[in-house]
Amino acid sequence: MNGAKLRRTLPRLVVNAAVIFAMVIWIVPTLGLFITSFRPASEVTSSGWWTVLSSPLKFTQFTLENYRTVLATGGMSTAFRNSFIITIAGTVVPVFVAALAAFGLSKLHFGGRGFFYGLIVMMLVVPTQMTFIPVLRLYNKLSLSGTFTGLTLVHTGYGLPFAVFMLHSFFDALPDELFEAAYIDGASIWMTFVRLAVPLSVPAIASLVIFQFLFVWNDLLVALIYLGGHESVAPLTMRLSSLVGSYGQSWHLLTAAAFVSMFVPLVVFFSLQKYFVRGILGGAVKG
């Protein structure tokens, strides 16, 4: 550890106090939300959630009623289903298309491949805002706005530059000789992709999948633009943000709804954190 000797000048006590203080700041807001989501409405409005901490084991003060309400009448169960559909399609399609492209740009020799790779990387500088209006107009003409298909295609178009960039650098690291040998043995290009490139890059693809999964699951803006007023296809983020308006001060319901939307990403994050971190490092600097 780098810090071994630095402790001499910066006392261990100060370091520990600072880190624990930071951890408290990062935990407490979420904890407050979590506790409140299990408290009855009358208590949420009459006392702060921290009052529960004086008798945390008194289970009668907690209820599942808020969750029942938001799932049944708040439209959160439909939104939950929608989020799943949107996120799975919005992850599988772009990762597949990006893997094909990254493989082609890295392992096939053809004229203009440098140009195409440059074009794709260049698209990283275009903020999605630059594309909303023309794509939306196109969608309105083709009746694609307000549909899962339309949204999946949009997430593919938007997610591609980063995905290709990330996978390309991974494929580039695989030795060319490996593929050459496979050809000599009579394998087709498709076979080398499916049997060699993909299995060898499972860690990179896993990182990308988690990255894209969380990105699409948590997206609000793209859904707002292309799903507009179509509540029946709205994902959790959209539903939750409109509940912020309609529930107003009904904090027992808002907190439960928020937690419903956070549940899946938290499970994904804590079970697959290693891949997620690797993805972030892969996309930022070579770790």
Binding site: V15, A22, F132, P265, V268
Partner: protein, 289 residues
């Protein structure tokens, strides 16, 4: 694989991605640039009218000022805190737990985080029971409760804090990896020479971490210029908290003014280009090493 791959294989592998990019990036970006010189329905050219609006109207100037506040405090805050935490967690035994906790908000949506903090900032008039933790702390210390999201300019800072809470963990994770990459001998040599912590920090740690720092700074700059969700959920741009991206959304849907919305997008694009250029260049350089 030195031989040529022919025509069909590249088309099959690279074609779909290129088609997607043409439809979802190249064509719309060019079209938006054209729309930015046209009226609200994109029927007639209006010259620079939309840009005049973007740079001179009171609402837009307000949005630019707020976004500038975000640029300064959000970027300095996320990178500064991220660096500090990266160095601090390296010295405790529960490093991975601490990192998980601070990194956790990155996994949840900004909408979710917005609700979390809206509850933290909850305000009730003096005298009544406070249910927002921050105001409860203020009241317990003998102060008056504060309308965190309503009072300007405090509300802008209250929103920026939410941004810090979400993104600091991201900066910390990247900077922590870079910090661990600094050769140990370098730090030890510095200490033998009698450098104190601060000197070590400025003369060895920061220069050694430069590539990672510039990637993190540029990534945060681009994020903050496009910041939307937090404001949309927490104040919807009311009480003087609007920023560029929220302004564009309103021009697009609330006022149905395609010309103005497009001009805002173009301005955003022009601000982002040099930052992203620098960001990508640093990344590609990192790859070559």
């Amino acid at each position: 694989m030195k031989r040529k791959a022919g025509f069909w294989a590249p088309l099959f592998f690279v074609g779909p991605a290129v088609a997607f990019l043409l439809v979802y990036q190249v064509y719309p970006a060019l079209q938006t640039a054209v729309y930015s010189f046209m009226d609200r329905r994109s029927e007639h050219f209006v010259g620079l009218d939309n840009y005049k609006y973007v740079f001179t109207s009171a609402t837009m100037v307000r949005a630019f000022k707020n976004n500038l506040l975000w640029v300064v405090f959000f970027t300095a805050g996320t990178v500064g805190l991220g660096l500090l935490l990266a160095i601090l967690v390296d010295r405790v035994k529960y490093e991975s737990l601490a990192k998980s906790v601070i990194f956790m908000p990155m996994a949840v949506s900004f909408v979710g985080a917005g609700v979390v903090w809206k509850f933290m900032y909850n305000y009730r008039p003096p005298g009544s029971e406070q249910i927002g933790l921050l105001n409860q702390i203020l009241v317990a210390l003998g102060f008056e409760p504060v309308g965190w999201l309503i009072e300007s300019p405090i509300n802008n800072f209250a929103l920026i804090v939410v941004g810090l809470w979400i993104w600091t963990g991201y900066c910390m994770v990247i900077l922590s990896a870079a910090y661990k990459g600094i050769p140990k001998e370098l730090l030890e040599a510095g200490q033998v020479d009698g450098a104190r912590d601060l000197q070590l920090f400025w003369h060895i740690i920061v220069p050694e971490m430069r590539p990672a720092l510039s990637v993190v700074v540029t990534t945060m700059l681009v994020n903050v210029l496009k910041i939307f969700d937090i404001i949309y959920v927490m104040t919807n741009g009311n009480y003087g908290t609007e920023v560029i991206a929220n302004r564009m959304y309103k021009e697009m849907f609330q006022f149905a003014n395609t010309g103005r919305a497009s001009a805002i997008a173009v301005v955003l694009f022009l601000i982002i280009i040099p930052i992203m250029y620098y960001n990508i260049r640093t990344k590609l350089k990192g790859e070559e090493r």
